[in-house]
């Protein structure tokens, strides 16, 4: 077979085979650690690791009881970083998230009280239960990694990740996320129900104690930031880049789509493909990486026309349809 050194030959400045091994090793440690709590869900865990490696925010969407919050908490617990949880409720205010200036009567001056957003990993649980006003306060934080309170802009600590959960079924007392906010999530992950064996293992594992309580972190923010930098050096050659652009641009002209994927989506897909290639031990991205990530990266960003939605066309189905239509960058016959 082909020599492994040739397969992962250094391609870009500053990247060595050792770097790739470090990324792979870290991804493996994270996956194994999360696997101590979460049963199965290999794809969801891998996608979450990919999101961590490109500092992208994750939206975990599924029906209640499938372990969305548990996954987010486990991932956060595996990182030795500052972790904060915000339980989104209809009466939550923007200042409850970003922080506020209050008058300290003892000292006779205004002081800034930091909100829970000032953390490395923020779990926004049931994000669609907050009002649009409160949801909007995340826009600046998620995109620019900073918050502005009463005219003063403060940078957020790095790395900064938002892991949000939402339930797509229950509509009462919820406010759908606006497109601007959805676009800021790099990936939307759906887990689905576990298999019978997995469910049996969940019962066994959680029978006596919660394994989350004994979870130890396996990496820290500094190492994560370094790996994020290394992932960006993974080669995405011209054919793969053009494939990404084709894919994103086709979503804009699709007849069933009212609003296609944004340039931010293209950037996200490229970065995610880089991270996935690095996790797989490759120094370059291939179209398979793009195809694997296209659904989680693009599906939630598409605004589908009502008539198409009535026919049962969902974001995932449309992305799969586009993937089947677009020619992969392979030799012409």
């Amino acid at each position: 077979m082909i020599d492994q050194s040739e397969k992962s030959a250094p391609r870009t400045a500053g990247q060595t085979e050792g770097d790739l091994q470090q990324i792979q090793h870290m991804a493996q440690r994270l996956t194994e650690n999360v696997g101590r709590v979460i049963v199965g869900r290999a794809t969801a865990v891998r996608l979450t690791v990919v999101a961590l490696l490109c500092e992208g925010h994750v939206l975990l969407e599924d029906v209640p009881g499938l372990g969305k919050t548990m996954l987010a908490r486990t991932v956060a617990g595996s990182l030795n970083c500052l972790f904060k949880r915000i339980q989104f409720t209809p009466d939550l205010l923007p200042s409850d998230v970003t922080g506020l200036n209050y008058f300290n009567q003892k000292e006779g001056e205004f002081r800034f009280l930091k909100g829970p957003i000032m953390a490395n990993v923020v779990l926004a649980d049931e994000i669609n239960r907050a009002t649009p006003r409160t949801q909007s306060c995340l826009l600046e934080a998620m995109e620019e990694r900073q918050v502005t309170v009463e005219g003063e802009t403060m940078a957020l600590p790095r790395p900064f990740l938002v892991l949000a959960t939402q339930n797509p079924v229950e509509q009462e007392g919820t406010f759908p996320l606006p497109e601007a906010q959805l676009d800021r999530f790099l990936l939307r992950i759906k887990q689905g129900y576990p298999t019978a064996q997995e469910e049996d293992l969940i019962l066994t594992r959680f029978q006596k104690e919660n394994p989350l309580q004994n979870l130890e972190p396996v990496t820290d923010g500094e190492e994560l930031s370094r790996m994020q930098g290394l992932c960006r050096t993974v080669l995405v050659d011209q054919p793969v880049r053009e494939y990404i652009l084709d894919l994103v641009r086709t979503t804009r002209s699709h007849q069933a789509v009212r609003l296609g994927a944004s340039p931010r989506a293209a950037q996200g897909l490229l970065r995610a493909a880089q991270a996935l290639a690095a996790v797989k031990g490759r120094a370059f991205a291939v179209p398979d990486d793009v195809k694997e990530l296209a659904g989680p990266v693009l599906a939630h960003r598409l605004l589908i026309r009502p008539e198409a939605r009535l026919r049962g066309a969902g974001g995932e189905e449309l992305v799969q349809e586009i993937l089947a239509k677009i020619k992969a960058p392979v030799e012409e016959e």
Partner: protein, 467 residues
Amino acid sequence: MSRLREISGHWGILPLFFMAMESAWLTALFDLIARAGEKPAGVPLELCCLLYPAAYLCGRFIRPRELPRLKEWALGAALGLLATVLILKPVLFAQQSWHILGWSLETITRPPWTSWFLAAGCGGFVWLRGWFLSGKRVNLKGMAGAFQAGLVVFLVVLPFLGVMGLSAGRSWLLVSGFFVFGLSGLWLAGRIENRETGADRGGATWFVLVALALGAVLVLGYAVWSIVDRDLLEILIRPFVWLWERFVELMSYLSTLLPKPKPMVIPGRGTAANVAPQPFRNPLLDLTWLKNVAEFVFLAATSTIVGMALFRTLTDLVAWLRRRFARNAAPAVESSDYGFLDDLKVLFLALFSWLKRLLGFLTKKPKEGPRVSPEAKTVREIYRRFLIWGRAKGSPKDGGATPYEYQAQMSRILPERQDELGLLTEAYVLVRYGGINPGPELIRMVRVSWRKIKSSAPLELIEESQP
């Protein structure tokens, strides 16, 4: 006999039927063009069809499907040369006879530029068509599409040719050639496809039956029309003329039922209307009306069948064009009985967008691609041949499939060549997406793997049945 069966079961035989079928309608079309002007073009445009096989064979040489075939190129070049001589002779040496060896250049004629233009246009079109065909693999779908297109051309061209005095014998030849080669090709393509995919499509011959019925009506109608030398339009409007005559007769009869004015009595004379009585005509013995009714029924039925066939064919053609032009994936559109106008609208929009893209492509500056080393080119060329080979073996790569997906697909029909497929795919991925320059050892391994893959016999494909 077994040799004949072997040849008829090979994909390579289909282009012959395809070319013969297309040559029939191309000849009719070129004949119409040659006769369309006030003066005949003077150029035997129909001979341009001889360039079809020449272009096909030369195209196969330039774009080798498996290995370059010098014999094919030589045959193609000879055919092309012969066709060129046959086309040019009546233009330049109209005064010379084939019986005289060595034509005198002094007698060379100077044909008008329109003749050159027409000859170049028709010849160029046929050449491009043959060239295009050489890069494609004719299958059942392609054959059926070309048959439909040819049918539409015939339906449009033949009436005009009849008006312009095309001989009955020649038109019989063209129509018969088209149907014989087209239907045989369709049947053969269906047979080969069924055998290769292992699927029994059951009703695969329905369109052949429809086409046969339509062809019979057309040929019969065209033969009658050619023999009696009537204008087709006159035949088509005869039912309406007949209806009008009956209407006038009915009105005349009704007017006789009205109370007649009493004849004026002039003293000393007889009645004013002293007209001799009409002889009595027994309607049971006079069968003219029966003849007229039969004629009306026959003409109305024939016109309806032809009209419906034309409409149906045009609808299919529009739907096909729409699919062809619709580059962007569209959701499944439910078919509607009245969706023809919608189809047309979408088609025009798609056509407009296609023209815009074409304009963009033509005005785009050529992009300098990344330099590819000869070693990388070798690997990519081997992989390209592998794709062509896979297609020839009945397992073509889907447009959206990646190299790894195609590897999995091929592994199902070549289970004993998993390692070779893996190596070939891995090497291609490294070269294409990793930008890695392969070493001599890797190239040697790729060559060996490709040889092993090429020499193996793939398993029969079994179509996955959906529950």
